[in-house]
Amino acid sequence: MNRITRTWAGVFTNRVTPTLAGLAASAVVGAPLLLGAAPASAAPRPASPTPRTSVAAQDALARIQANSYTEIDRRLAALNAAIPAVAANRAISPADKATLTGTLTADVSGLTGLRQTIAADTTVATATADHQKIFTGYRVYALALPQVRFAAAADGITGSVLPALTDAQHALQELLAGAGGGKNTPAVQAKMADLANQLTTISTDTAGLAATVLAYTPADYDANHALLAPSRSKLAAARTAIGAARADIASVKAALG
């Protein structure tokens, strides 16, 4: 709900796809000419629009509406697939799951309403403006769905991967301090030191990351299209550190026999 309200509060831009722009231009710009909006020196304009003008405008309106339906339905399908996926994802924390479900459900509701609004539009101008809201009001692909996935990845790392890696680290420390003490060579110690560094990197890179990602709105995205890049970079760095930590653990375990 807030997602739509915030965005609709003046965030819309005037960007239009070439196809839609041409469509609208031919109807809007062409209409005055057909209507007789010619220079003053030209012949007197007709008193009423010609039938040809009405047909052109109606065609343009129909095309905008059809294009809008396609875009909306594609997004609704993606959102409706994401909602049960979020519910089934055990990596996402309950709090984040509630936030994500709320966002996705609100987007479904908003886009469904927007579809009805566009269906009821009677002019090219209003249909064009409403068509833009499909993108600027929701950013389903650019923001909403990545939010779901990146927050899930962050929760998966902090809630599952990092605890398991840390437990393995502790198990190895106990082994090296006890029965496997004789195998605590400098090489093994170097692996254990690297493991500690990698765990710190993972923890640092993912701390608060899910909350950060979930806080972004379509308005934030419209102001900065690279909004998710830093979070994605942190996830990539954490993922690399996980691989290194896992290799360290396997190496020390092999040394222990």
Partner: protein, 91 residues
């Protein structure tokens, strides 16, 4: 008389054996039996891993399996997020 004497001797012998058996059952283990030294759980270097080491490495194995299972989901999420971002979402 002779039979009576033989019978008494026989009873006395049986009773004596039973007492000896009873007594033996209450005694502690013979001091001659050597109990294994507790130090036997510490392996010599190069020997097979002891039970404690095996338990520890099993725990590590279980942790790594958990990591791999969770990573599979993490990688899937990252890939799907990237795929969504790759789609045109501009008007």
């Amino acid at each position: 008389m002779t039979r009576l004497a033989f019978g008494l001797v026989a009873v006395a012998l049986v009773a004596g054996c039973g007492q000896a058996a009873d007594h033996g059952s209450r005694k502690a283990a013979p001091t001659g039996v050597i109990t294994p030294a507790p130090t036997s759980t510490v392996p010599a270097r190069g020997a097979a891993p002891a039970a404690g080491t095996a338990t520890g490495t099993s725990r590590v194995d279980a942790d790594l399996k958990s990591v791999d299972a969770a990573l599979s989901q993490v990688d899937s999420d990252l890939s799907a997020g990237d795929s969504a971002r790759a789609q045109n979402d501009d008007n």
